[in-house]
């Protein structure tokens, strides 16, 4: 009883499956092309969302800094007291207020960033 040797089997398998790959029908080729385009669109979609979030982060950080600066300038006159003790206590309260207000502002900005990211994804889908 003779068997096909390994070399012949490998060679024939390679020929058979190479031929299968080269002779796919047009419908299948088209579907593969669509699959490829879908895959490639994921990369550019990821990039644009990243860029949008990046920009929003910078905008948010800038807005936060501006808010803190504004609060600082608004509250500084309150610090100009003739009573040193009052100034010290006011300074502490002022700093605590700034910290709390800043954190609240950051939280609000985070929420806005999520909204901007969702908005960007929605716009991208609409474009597609």
């Amino acid at each position: 009883m003779t068997h096909i040797n390994e070399g012949d089997l490998k060679l024939k398998a390679k020929q058979v499956f190479d031929q299968k790959a080269d002779s796919l029908d047009l419908k299948t080729q088209k579907r593969l092309e669509m699959a490829r385009e879908t895959a490639l669109s994921q990369r550019s979609k990821k990039t644009s969302v990243f860029d949008a979030v990046n920009i929003k982060w910078m905008t948010g950080a800038g807005a936060g800094l501006a808010l803190v600066s504004l609060l600082t300038f608004m509250l500084i006159p309150g610090l100009m007291s003739s009573n040193g003790r009052q100034v010290d206590q006011s300074n502490i309260a002022f700093l605590e207020d700034i910290e709390i207000l800043s954190h609240e502002s950051e939280l609000e900005l985070y929420t806005q960033l999520d909204f901007y990211e969702w908005l960007d994804e929605s716009l991208n889908e609409a474009e597609l």
Partner: protein, 190 residues
């Protein structure tokens, strides 16, 4: 921007080169064209979204590893699904490796007008594909990667996420099965 475009074109060219072979591999594994297309698309998406920044030399083994993982996932889902079905029906065999209808079985036979040698060659090709399709999954994977894609044992073990010894075992068993199933062609020259 230019580098970004070059990367985009490069991975696109890679996908164009590999998509047909990936589809054939997935179709042999699943014996279903729609499932094969889904698997290939999922593998492409994963490669592009997770590994497009890698060096292009890493894409082939990465892509095949992703592809085989998705095939494994498909296979597990099929086994679970068929197990449920077998509880309610006697139509499906539950003997470990499910045998599904091969697309070859419904092919129209237009061989009557061809020379005998060509007919025999076509028969051998069909029998070979059929024989590979019905192999157990791991043997199938090992054979397609080693024999068709000409991956080394080491590369195949990394793609299949198993030891090199396991690859050799699966591959050897695949060869034995194929030789037995294609015995009728053993004395013919191809």
């Amino acid at each position: 921007m230019k580098a970004h475009d070059e990367n985009n074109i490069s991975i696109e060219q890679f996908l164009i080169r590999i998509e047909k072979r990936a589809f054939v591999m997935a179709r042999v594994a699943t014996a279903n064209e729609d499932d094969a297309l889904d698997i290939v698309q999922d593998a492409m998406i994963k490669l592009v979204s997770k590994y497009s920044n890698k060096d292009s030399k890493e894409w082939p083994p990465l892509f095949y590893r992703i592809l085989q993982s998705h095939i494994n996932d498909w296979y597990r889902r099929q086994k679970v699904r068929n197990r449920w079905r077998s509880w309610f029906s006697n139509d499906i065999k539950d003997d470990g490796d499910e045998v599904r209808d091969s697309p070859l079985e419904n092919k129209q036979d237009d061989k009557d007008k061809l020379p005998e040698d060509e007919i025999k060659s076509m028969q051998f090709s069909e029998s070979l594909e059929q024989a590979v399709t019905v192999l157990p999954l791991r043997q199938k994977q090992a054979f397609m990667l080693r024999a068709w894609e000409e991956c080394s044992t080491k590369e195949t073990s990394e793609i299949m996420k198993c030891s090199q010894g396991s690859v050799k075992t699966h591959y050897s068993r695949a060869l034995t099965s194929l030789r037995n199933n294609l015995q009728e062609f053993s004395n013919d020259s191809h």
